[in-house]
Amino acid sequence: MTYMQKPKIRHPRLKKNDLGLTRRDYEGVLSTLCAGCGHDSVTAAIIEACFELQLPAHRLAKLSGIGCSSKTTAYFLSQAHGFNSLHGRMPAIATGANLANRDLIYLGVSGDGDTASIGLNQFCHAVRRRLNMVYIVENNGTYGLTKGQFSATNDKNSKSKKGGNNLFEAMDLCALAIQLKAGFVARGFSGDKAQLVPLIKSAMRYRGFALLDIISPCVTFNNHAASTKSYDYIRDHSEAVDKLDFVPAQEEITANYDEGQTVNVTMHDGSSMRLHKLETDYDPRNADEALMHIRKRYAEGEVVTGLLYVDQEEEDLHSLIETTERPLNELSMDELCPGSQPLEELNNTLR
């Protein structure tokens, strides 16, 4: 079956931005994710951010790998070209696309499986090359699309829907990115739009590699926290029917809390995680401190959210390798092909 385009009925009352576009204009095809999936909330935040930024949608390119998260690039900005590439390989596609045309905005959406497992190498090297892009990880600690295996960002000792126990330490992508000298590193929570939208906007304005690690609960295979509470409706049922084939529609999990606060967020399966929002006076310009902050809070069982680190020296791959200011894909063949005369001269040097 073919996915449907959302009906484009323009409500005259819908608010327009300076480009004359409404939020609707920033939408994409209908989401096919599970009702209540955190990824849909992220999609909404991206739409909001683009609307507020007054972005001409076609000047943005949407890139992704494979996974539930990677599907979401189809669910926003229909007027932007999208590339749903291969599992774990979005960074390479983004690098090539960016080299071809430095003038577009590159927004990559990935999952934790896509980034922290099969795609870890490309992720790390995109960071290192200071690729000018926004890299969003919709981090649910699981392989949603392949039905709930643990990912490398999953917390040690949490339980999967099938009852297995995660034996390995979680990989913290923000800490990793800071260690690898990413330019902009932030963490958000899908249910906290108040924090998320501004983060996405800043990331889009940043020149260089901007990582947004967004905790985005999976309603179906959610297993974020180590909670092993005894009453667990969904798990009970799904075991019961012996196939993980009943996914009741869930509400999106939201969290609104202030800077400097810590909240307990309850997941769909009844487990919980503790989010800590950075203090207002936190200074994100110091990488050492950012790293330590993440590590210390983590040791206390908390996940820090907010803009963790920003390198104010906004270098990007193009400035490093000194490509021309103009998009390479707009150079004419006449400019690119030296022509017969230099070839004659070259022939002479080869004699």
């Binding site: 690039t73 090539g96 390798i321």
Partner: protein, 611 residues
């Protein structure tokens, strides 16, 4: 062993000793004297201290294939004396460093001892110089022995070191030490000698990787992503060099980007990302890289993204023989990736064609919106060949294929479908991101999709799209370079099909066969899919030898299944020892088959009767 302007010199050295440069001076000098030469560098997969050889065939007749048997061996590596001495043909010469004299146990060759180390020890103080200039000393000696005009070498040295006078002087000194010694001690020149010629006049010397890198510049490629691997590394490096030479804007910035990727998966992915975004982009790799790239190649095939891949083939399988040549990635490339895929391959035969096919490859990739793999190899890519000068027709238009720009999108009447076959040739129209605010955006993916690029799980819709891809591949047949045919005898019922760097060997083989009374026609494949000429050629012959440098007769398999040629008709002639092919090998295999295989003999009889 032959005589004037026709012999083989081989240098046996230790790598890292500076011999490669000196040996190339020697080859270059012969070339400057107007002689076709074919230097072959046979090097180990390490950096220093292992045996390495450099073979130079001089052939005024223009035979540039390897010839087995060495006429003059410059044996500088005691580690390999035994095998080196053995290779010298009867009546040939062995030159060695006689600072420590020794016996070689062959009476049928001439041993010329030159106390090279001693001469250097006298002449130079710096122990590194003593080491390095041994190479120039033997070049000087050779110059005397085979009669190279010394001024030619002097000039080459001068060009090399013009910015470094002290080195120039030291090199010249070493050169003359060798020259003087040989003139004084030996009867110079030997019967094996050179004379000024015009056989190579106007030609150039260049390696295939260098030429291919340059071809990418001329094709207007702007994005190159690669990962180092022998023997493809120098292709990407050449592109970068020429980029810095020819493509710097007013502000000193580059009209092009080169990225050394973290691995081959990333390298090809970057090229594909750039190709999707409207830049001409490529990667260069070798066997292991092709294996790693295969998932992405499948994506580019199915999502229809132009990308050019240079596969400079080396000895497989696995890590295999990284510094030896083979043509053994044919199947791996023709069908790279899982599922039903087929890819366009080009087969250059020499550096000049590397240049031309590099340029051609980008046109094809964009016209067909698919990966195009240029199948070079170590011999073509890394060795320096004497070829006709490179040419570029300034009136030539780069064919970017079916791309809709903003205007075209505005003008469109019917609903545009990214994967719609509007023209019946299987090739759809594409758009580049950022082109138009409202039109032409689509969603690229490796999963099954409709004509309008939407995701579909409708098996019939998908099957229809797959069938269109077949149609497109058929269209490719008429777009790719046609084979060249060497029709030696209209009546001959025996043919040869071959491709790539064995061209010289096959042509020499044909000559040798003709000398022995066998006249065969030959077809050189230049591309896959096969043009209908190929099947026609096969149809016109009773038996066709398929010459290839792999174990499994991979091209022969393709000819059977893809060109529909009967298997019995195609006789494999296989070589997979990693060395460039020789004409004698070709002729020998064919001749012995003629003499032992009754079908071939019959075909021969048919040809004769036809005459």
């Amino acid at each position: 062993m032959t005589g004037v302007n026709d012999f083989v010199v081989k240098f046996a050295n230790v790598n890292g000793s500076g011999s490669a440069s000196a040996n190339s001076f020697f080859a270059k000098a012969l070339f400057r004297m107007g002689l076709p030469v074919s230097p072959k560098n046979i090097f180990p997969s390490n950096i220093q201290g292992l045996p390495t050889w450099f073979e130079v065939r001089i052939s005024e007749a223009g035979h540039l294939a390897r010839r087995e048997g060495v006429d003059i061996m410059v044996a500088m590596n005691p580690q390999t004396y035994a095998q080196d001495v053995e290779e010298v043909v009867s009546g040939g010469y062995l030159i060695y460093d006689s600072t420590r004299e020794r016996e070689f146990g062959r009476d049928d060759i001439n041993v010329l001892g030159i106390p090279i180390a001693r001469l250097c020890a006298f002449a130079f103080d710096d122990p590194r110089h003593r080491q390095l200039f041994k190479n120039i000393v033997y070049v000087g000696a050779l110059a005397g022995l085979v009669g190279i005009e010394i001024s030619v070498i002097e000039q080459i040295i001068f060009e090399q070191f013009k910015r470094k006078e002290h080195l120039n002087d030291a090199n010249l000194k070493a050169l003359h030490i060798g020259l003087d010694y040989s003139l004084e001690k030996f009867k110079c020149p030997l019967p094996l000698r050179v004379r000024q010629s015009d056989a190579a006049t106007g030609k150039i010397m260049i390696s295939g990787n260098d030429a291919a890198g340059l071809g990418c510049i001329y094709a207007g490629a702007t994005v190159a992503a690669w990962y180092p691997i022998t023997p493809s590394t120098s292709l990407a490096e050449a592109f970068e060099r020429y980029l810095n030479k020819y493509r710097i804007d007013e502000c000193g910035r580059k009209l092009g980007a080169v990225v050394q990727a973290e691995d081959e998966l990333a390298a090809v992915g970057i090229a594909i990302g750039a190709g999707w975004n409207g830049a001409r982009a490529f990667t260069a790799t070798s066997g292991p890289g092709i294996s790693l790239m295969s998932e992405f190649i499948g994506l580019a095939y199915f999502a229809e993204i132009p990308v050019v891949i240079f596969n400079v083939q080396r000895g497989g399988p696995s890590t295999g023989m990284p510094t030896r040549t083979q043509q053994s990635d044919i199947i791996a490339c023709a069908y790279a990736s899982h599922g039903d895929t087929r890819h366009v391959l080009l087969f250059p035969s020499d550096p000049k064609e590397c240049f031309e096919m590099a340029a051609e490859a980008f046109d094809l990739a964009e016209r067909l919106q698919t990966p195009v793999i240029v199948m070079s190899d170590l011999d073509i890519g890394m060795n320096t060949w004497v070829v006709d000068p490179l040419e570029w027709d300034d009136s030539r238009k780069h064919d970017r294929g079916k791309v809709l720009d903003a205007e075209a999108l505005e003008a469109l009447k019917e609903k545009w479908g990214r994967y719609k076959d509007s023209d019946g040739d299987g090739i759809p129209y594409r758009t580049i991101p950022g082109t138009h605010p409202e039109k032409g955006a689509y969603f690229t993916r490796g999963s099954s999709h409709t004509e309008y690029a939407s995701y579909t799980e409708d098996g019939l819709v998908n099957a229809k799209n797959l069938a269109r891809l077949l149609r497109k591949f058929k269209t490719a047949m008429s777009m790719v370079p046609r084979p060249t045919i060497n029709q030696r005898d209209e009546n001959s019922k025996l043919g040869i099909i071959y491709f790539g760097g064995t061209d010289h060997a096959v042509r020499e083989g044909l000559d040798l066969l003709e000398r022995d009374g066998y006249r065969l026609n030959a077809l050189r494949l230049r591309a896959f899919p096969f043009s209908p000429d190929v099947a026609a050629f096969a149809a016109a012959h009773e038996r066709v030898f398929v010459i290839e440098q792999n174990r499994d007769g991979q091209m022969r398999s393709l000819l059977i299944t893809e060109a529909g040629i009967q298997a019995e008709k195609l006789i494999p002639v296989l070589n997979f020892d990693g060395m460039p092919l020789s004409g004698a090998f070709v002729a020998g295999c064919i001749q012995s088959t003629i003499e032992t295989n009754e079908h071939v003999a019959n075909a021969l009889r048919l040809s004769v009767r036809a005459v």
